[in-house]
Amino acid sequence: MKKQLTVALAGNPNSGKTTLFNSLTGSKQYVGNWAGVTVEKKEGILNYKDFNINVIDLPGTYSLSPYSMEEIIARNFLIDEKPDVVINIVDASNIERNLYLSMQLLELDIPVVIALNMMDVAEKRGYLIDVFELSKKLGTEVVPIVASKNKGIDKLLDAVVNTKKSKSNNFIKYNNKIEKKIKEIENIIECNDSKYDLRWLAIKILEQDDIIIKEFKDIFKEEAAATISSYLDDESQTSIADGRYNYISNVLDDTIEKTKEQEKTLTDRIDDILTHRWLGLPIFALIMFSVFYFTFDLVGNKLLNIIDSFINNTLATSVNDMLITMGVSEWLNSLIVDGIIGGVGGILVFLPNIACLFLAISILEDSGYMARVAFIMDRSMRRIGLSGKAFIPMILGFGCNVPAVMGTRALDDENDRLVTILINPFMSCSARLTVYTLFAGIFFPNNEKFIVFSLYILGILIAVIAALIFKKTIFKGESSPFIIELPPYKVPSLKGIIIHVWDRLKGFLINAGTLIFGASIILWFVLGFNLNGPAPIYNSLGAQVGKVIAPIFKPLGFGDWRSALSLLSGIVAKEVVISNMAIIYGLEDASKALSVSLLENFSQISAYAFMVFVLLYTPCIATVGVIKKETNSWKWTIFSLVYQFVVAWIVAMIVYQIGKIIL
């Protein structure tokens, strides 16, 4: 029988917890070089010697007095669920600040093993760390590791399974005044038996910890509560933080030697340019444009054409021939060739573009540039009442809105978080890219990239306007104060990028294989039958439904039932808009290429209006689901569905009506 052990990974943001978690459990969780990548706790299993270890990756936190939502998740897990051992990941290249959390963890009633990570970076900077002495001074095991290169992992695990079930007794002594107050508070709360350690609790009270104080307001008798309140002041709070940092300084004086006195690191020199007062913003714009250029022109579309001709010519024709020689009935042949290959294949051709986009985004994330964007965009974001930090989920939205909406957890202010969630779907995700790529290629040959870029810009513009309106009406208030750490730049790790891109492509393929596959089959039936049985396509159930809603889109320039039906089913997943069109036109006339049919049904203006509508309208169900989860409110979820539809309708209508007059 193996022994069970629950081990939590705790540490500052960006210290390498998830990297370690992946190497311990063989998982492929998402890693990036900025603070706030992990916003949920993740579990994994590891078998080591005769232990069965349940490893939990937590969001990063600077302190056990949490400030934002993802920090509360980490704090609650450590305090309420009490893992058997905590591995505290400490970034050796940023050791002073990182040890601050360690000081708090050591005060908890849980055994702690310190994993001194990023030893490679520390070494390069010329830091000599006396690990043995450090371990002695902190009264807990310290193991140097390089998580990204799997170094020191076994030693770390040995330390974990050998920890004694006791807490470190080298806890910090604060100054006399504080120690006296701690004693006094301990006496007051002694009678209230609680799950917490007394000294720890007393310190938390002096730190004015909101969660603890709120929890205890209900338990304490009125009198005691009043006495406790008299201990709440900023001075004690400051003294405690001060005491911890002083203690750390003393420890580090004896244990770390900085052999290189570097005035300016490479990161500083790069930052001089990338966060330059005037150059920062233009460089950022250039980088974003390059991302799209790379996605569409340079690589994406070249590969797209190859895959396109493979699926639509080679594959479709040979499957068709094969089915005919097999004597398969005509309807089944049509289901397979028109429905499945037409529908799913119509989406798969965009795989290269989507891969390129995610490749570019993950390079931005893993290099460390993402955090800089928060700085660069702060000035502009403040004008709309948000902080620069809110721009990070907006960029993530270009990939997929689902993780982007979750990423808003790293924002400190609840109102800002809601606004950021509500505007996020206007950031054009990679699924919508399928629509633009197809339409822009057909209607605006040679100008695709400008058309597509204009849509992205329009999305941002609408998001900005929406944010502005929200901040002026429902969520009044200044932009909340923000603070974000700038990590050192890193050469993105190949492994990390491959994991990231593959993960997203897998999601895309699974989507194609399930949602789009299912939708294609359903659509094929809906287009071949009506309630009375088999019917010609113009009389099918699908056409009937499409015809009912089509008039809504007449003022937008695409009031025919095919577009209406495609848009309706596009709520399942935005790619379905395209797979549906491929199926409908394919069924109507298999000999005509999709592009020819589209050219017959759309003008340049109505095609552009259509793209605008797809950009802005009601998000896909996955996004709706995550909005519900993150806002925890049906009201806001339904609101976001409706207002986006209205916005999309109005903007597309304006585009079409004005375009019609001009051209």
């Binding site: 302190s63 603070i483 700038l486």
Partner: protein, 74 residues
């Protein structure tokens, strides 16, 4: 003077943070305790400020930088 008024390259020490205890706590936890030495990496640009302290580099929003009081040490 407030941190927001410092210039790039200034070296300052932290005097006080004039804000409620919650935000104060956050800043203290991130290393901004009284007396800590701060190097201003990018300041005086009407936007956020980049500082470096205790070996880490931080961006402080404009509003934040206005409430952090510092004293120059040349």
């Amino acid at each position: 003077m407030p941190l927001a008024m410092t210039k790039s390259g200034d070296n300052v020490v932290l005097k006080d943070i004039s804000w409620g205890h919650r935000l104060k706590k956050r800043l203290q936890d991130m290393g901004l305790t009284p007396g800590v030495e701060i190097k201003v990496v990018s300041g005086n640009n009407r936007g956020a400020v980049i500082v470096s302290l205790r070996g880490s580099k931080l961006v402080l929003g404009r509003g934040m930088a206005q409430k952090i009081l510092v004293e120059s040490i040349g």
